[in-house]
């Protein structure tokens, strides 16, 4: 105890030093605007950092509760989303429908097989019949192969059996678009007349010769032109306008085949 007191007395100047320095610094930061401002700013940023840490820790402990709240919120939003998407579907349908055109939703689709098919949610009940042309906002999709009461199956361009009459836009050179497997973004026009003016990049559209499609529905663009050895025809590779792997909505060209044309064909055949 004695030695402690001794120590304190002998080193009393240290306490004096601390006292005087503290006094000076109080004066310095209390009465000089620049230093005061700096002190307040750093004090604020210090307390700000501390608050942030505290909040971080608190948040960590509240995570379980937060999680539960979020899951409930998620469920509520999802149910809202489904409701909305249903009403959106019906609204889209209404807005897109017009005379002679039926809007349908793609409910099944494939692009990687040799022969692909698309199923849509509209059938005979909606005025769909075999042989009608199907297209999307981008271009030609295919032809209705079979129509059930509520559903139909479409023969898309990506099917070996499909053949669609098309031409080079702005010219009369025409041929039939076919697909022989492989690349789902590429199809061929095989029997284009030899001297047709076809260049890479030209747009291919429907001819409208048959009543399957209206005229000038985009089919794709010319990627490659080959002169066949037979000397009569060209083979044109076409980059398809429609990405078949990403189809949601399609239009069905439901204008019924003109009865008179059918009648005439019948007469000729007979």
């Amino acid at each position: 105890m004695r030695s402690l007191l001794d120590f304190i007395v002998r080193h009393s100047y240290v306490f004096l030093f601390v006292l005087l320095e503290t006094l000076s610094l109080i004066l310095l930061f209390g009465f000089n605007d620049r230093q005061k401002e700096a002190y307040l700013t750093s004090a604020n940023s210090l307390s700000g950092t501390l608050y942030e840490w505290r909040t971080g820790v608190e948040q960590y402990f509240g995570l379980r509760k937060e999680n539960a709240t979020l899951v409930r919120e998620n469920a509520r939003l999802r149910s809202l989303l489904y409701d909305l998407s249903d009403s959106l579907d019906s609204a889209t349908e209404r807005s897109m429908s017009s005379d002679g055109v039926v809007v349908a939703r793609v409910i099944d689709n494939s692009v990687r097989k040799d022969d692909n098919y698309i199923t849509i949610d509209k059938g005979r009940n909606h005025g769909i019949a075999q042989g009608m042309g199907v297209y999307s906002s981008d271009g030609v999709v295919g032809i209705v192969m079979a129509a059930g009461r509520k559903y139909s199956v479409i023969l898309p361009v990506l099917n070996g059996s499909t053949s669609i009459s098309c031409k080079v836009k702005g010219s009369d050179s025409f041929g039939f678009l076919e697909w022989n497997g492989g690349d789902p973004y590429m199809a061929q026009i095989k029997d284009m007349p030899y001297h047709s003016s076809v260049d890479i990049g030209d747009t291919i559209v429907t001819t409208g010769f048959t009543s399957v499609f209206p005229e000038n529905i985009p089919v794709g663009t010319v990627a490659k032109v080959e002169h066949m050895k037979n000397g009569y025809t060209l083979r044109v590779n076409v980059n398809l306008a429609v990405d078949m792997s990403d189809l949601r909505w399609v239009y069905i060209h439901s204008r019924t085949r003109d009865a008179e044309i059918d009648e005439l064909f019948k007469q000729v055949k007979d």
Binding site: I26, L28, N32
Partner: protein, 173 residues
């Protein structure tokens, strides 16, 4: 401490404070160098003084300058800090283990050690002083320049003072 030496110290304090307030504070050579010559008083505190005494004198010296320069706390803080180190710094430059009263000076310590002592004193004090003055610290280059230039100025002034005054007291044959 006798009354005479107290009055002498007080007069020294007033004189050095007045010099600093009315003359040296207005100097800013090259835009950077402001001599803080008043630390001369702290540099000359002899070894017979108590450490508390040194601290108090230094504090009040700084405080007087602060009050009249409108910089409360600035000079008192740096001067007090310097006073805390002063006895140790003297020992650093005195080679022998002396027990008699030592007044720091070129005659008692030797020219070179005393010069080193003054330089170190000035550097410590000015560094603290300019750091405190520049808060919030922004431009370190300017800060360093201020310290260096001012240390040089103060050092020159103290050397001049050493040769003008102190030697007159201790006439060496």
């Amino acid at each position: 401490m006798g009354t005479v030496s107290f009055i002498r110290r007080l007069m020294t304090l007033v004189l050095l404070a007045a010099l600093q307030i009315f003359f040296f504070n207005r100097i800013a050579l090259f835009g950077y160098a402001t001599p803080l010559f008043y630390i001369w008083m702290i540099a000359r505190f002899d070894s017979s003084m108590s450490r508390s005494g040194i601290l108090l004198w230094a504090f009040f010296l700084g405080l007087v300058i602060d009050v009249f320069s409108g910089t409360p706390g600035l000079n008192s803080a740096s001067a007090t800090l310097l006073a805390m180190f002063q006895p140790g710094l003297v020992k650093l430059f005195v080679s022998m283990d002396r027990h008699d009263v030592l007044v720091p000076g070129s005659d008692s310590m030797g020219g070179r050690p005393f010069a080193g002592y003054l330089l170190l004193m000035a550097t410590i004090h000015h560094t603290v002083y300019f750091i405190l003055r520049s808060i919030p610290l922004g431009d370190w280059t300017v800060l360093v320049l201020k310290v260096v230039f001012s240390v040089v100025m103060t050092f020159i002034l103290m050397t001049v003072a050493e040769h003008s005054f102190s030697n007159t007291g201790s006439k060496r044959s």
